[in-house]
Symmetry: C2
Subunit: 256 residues, 2 copies
Amino acid sequence: MNIVLLGSGHVATQLGRSFKMAGQDILQVWSRDKENAEELASSLASESITDISEMVLSADLYIIAVKDDAIKDIITSLTLQDQLIVHTSGSTGLDILDGVSTRTGVFYPLQTFSKKKAVDFRQIPIAIEGNTPEVTEIIRSIADRLSEKVIVLHSMQRRTLHVAAVFACNFTNHLYALAQEILKGQDLDFDLLRPLIAETALKIQTNDPTSVQTGPASRHDNNTIKTHLELLQSNPDLQELYSKLSQSIVNLNKQL
Amino acid sequence: MNIVLLGSGHVATQLGRSFKMAGQDILQVWSRDKENAEELASSLASESITDISEMVLSADLYIIAVKDDAIKDIITSLTLQDQLIVHTSGSTGLDILDGVSTRTGVFYPLQTFSKKKAVDFRQIPIAIEGNTPEVTEIIRSIADRLSEKVIVLHSMQRRTLHVAAVFACNFTNHLYALAQEILKGQDLDFDLLRPLIAETALKIQTNDPTSVQTGPASRHDNNTIKTHLELLQSNPDLQELYSKLSQSIVNLNKQL
């Protein structure tokens, strides 16, 4: 299969590598940024382009893997016919590709990517969608080459999954960062928290998160909560987050 | 070494098991709850007591491992002389043990415990403190038998570590729970998020969290943020948390 990759960021890089390793050809890498395009293209043994009018029209698959905001810019300069084109965005509907081609779809790998760290795609869920049942099946057969966890989701489900992922990944990582900030105030090393963070994520691999919730809020330990809020008083933002998240734990407990 | 364990919850259970495996004797397990005391005592081949007046006074170490709120209740009924006594609370000062004995300390293992899941204590940081340098050294030698990561912290540092741990562990687990709630709304399985959660925690084992922050807020993708807030509009609490955490990501970015 011949692929054109539109984008050169984290997702484009990891997808490009994984398709390459799965034996597919990446014909071209497009990026507005010449250096980025060249860097990724050279690692994939493909051609780099910065002008979208130089894009070949003979590929089997066109993958748009750019920031959500930038998808619109790309498709206004794209004129395909029946070539299969997909975007990789969790929060963008399939309909953004209406009119770009007669065969459109979504290929959303649910993982946090960085350029450097290679990931094992076999375990990464890929949420797919096609504009017709046939297109869906073609995309499924492509996704099956990379991952054991391919799932067909319509745009609303995919958006929901993306919001949930923001909570479980982006916000979680930010809590790690806030914890590090808190430690810095007493010259304590973030290393102290790393085993705890690993165990917390490990626990929910085989449990429901609500069943393993611990901490002052879950045991209604209001004295400790008060002590903690006093300790955070030099930072009203942290104090507010502490209150809101503790309250949210109490509220969810009540619902269950 | 002979140990008396005051408490029968998650921390008492894991500490008791680990001391037992390290070859120490648990003489007695005390708990207000008879059944809990008996259950833990039998697994540690020790005696169970529910009346603190039956506590032996000949042990080398007394460990208070109960809810923070309950520490005060216990020590009002305790009359020791120079027996070594420690509590295991992150957010309670050493001074709560003033007057209970001439040798007091803190033994705070930084991990999230459950009764069922055994943990490898070797990698768990233990923050210790003693009321004199000699007591600190004795506690250090005891902690060294369980963990490779023993650190001496004064009460203020330990409290700070505990607050940071609430962010990195308790609040993080709650975000997993919220993500699961969000998925339920579209009949999506939490399994979809498990690889992402594992990778997010793995990434920061070798990176600073700020350097691997991803997501709409960190890339100032306001369209996606708006889409997500609309999607959460049926749940104002989730909407507010989404806003606050996104704003907090932006704020921390600015500081760095």
